[in-house]
Amino acid sequence: MRALTVARIDLKRLSVRPFAWTLAGIVLAMMAWQFLLGVSAFMHAQPTLPGATGPGFTDSVIAPYLLNYIQLCLVIAPLVTMQALAGERDAQRLALLSAAGTGAAQIVLGKFCARLAFLWLLLAVVASLPLVLAHATHLDWGQFAAGLIATALCVAALTAIGIACSAFTPQPALAATAALLIGEALALIDAGVRLTGGDAGWLGYLALHTHLAPALRGLVRSGDLVYFLVITVLALALAIRRVGGDRERG
């Protein structure tokens, strides 16, 4: 219950910050542009595509479009989460929550939920663009839903990483940098092997792409869902441990 109150406070604070609106505006403008480019490229390429067996609208436009949102989230998730705990500690606002009897887990979960709600709201708006063309094209609803689930889980994992970095660093800028580096590392960890076409092994397992690609093709694998959930839970557990230790550390 207290976690919900913390989330409510943070959502309210996010909603009145020009920073959040500016970020949302930039993201939506970029995504709209990407979508238009995707549709335009598909329309040009359509006459040359093989009819029944070739890639359709969902493969050619929506999957890369959702992937673009994830790539944007590698940058915006650290920006949205950087102030969640770093900075709040110095301003004694974490102490205020703690003095009101709010536990570390409730603080961290509340702050995570508020940031995730913001990024999922953006995802909902982003996902609504392809729906505009749903009647004009043959949208593969299953593939679209699979892509959306994987994107939502990936965004949750990136948000949790941002929250953990915010818990471990005293400055928001440091938190954003650390979260960006971790996110980019997870995105690019197997890039070299992918380019050469070799077997990425455990590096491949750690990479975000390995777990996103099947879902964007319409294949939801439990292993991929577990991967995102493990990252999320691990990052949040570290953040809770860190915030919980504040009383002892001082």
Binding site: R2, T5, Q92, L96, A99, R247, E248
Partner: protein, 246 residues
Amino acid sequence: MTERPALLELASVGRHLGGRAVLHAVSFSLNPGDVLGLLGANGAGKSTTLAIIAGVLAPDSGEVRIAGQAVHDHRAAANRIGWVPENVPLWAELTVTEALDACGRLHGLSRDIRKIAIERELARLELNAVAQRLCGQLSLGQKRRVGLAQALLHEPELLVLDEPGNGLDPVQSAQWQVLVKKLAPKHGIILSSHDLAEVEAMCSRVVILHEGKVRHDARLDGKSGELDRQFRAIAQKSASKAACAH
């Protein structure tokens, strides 16, 4: 007949911060209706003591008891304590009413009780005029009053005020003194200060902390200047000790 336990009791509380012992076996108690002034120079350990009482810091040793019960899990005691730190933490993006509502929610007050409590505190602390203003736009004196309203919302038995008069002009400072006196009959109050006159004006008891140790603990007898003499004697003793060591 069993004796009623003290509202607050610190038993040999010790605390290290940054590898330095900030508090050494600090012990004192506070009864309901008392206003206890924690007096000491900067770095004496006043804020650390208050943070431990508020549950924001954990003691390394010793025990804090609220109404006779040891506070092992601070969350259980949170509703009995209202804390106003020196730099009042407010959510700058929320209006005063929204901030108070959020604090009420954190303390688990129901919607109806929250509404009544917010109206009561806005009136008591003369905040009605700024109720719809953002906390970030308030003056220091108004911020302090909002901080106090947040701390009073759940009607705690114990109020913990860290340097409440710091940075206030003489008029605001006098208003604070009146306010604390008004609150005293219903709440046990512990406040820290390095201003002797402020403590003499507001408190019924004083504890002088010096280098993390309790050096003086007595009820104020109303004689003007008595506290000043005590405080100066401790400071002189400490200065001569430092000179000898040098």
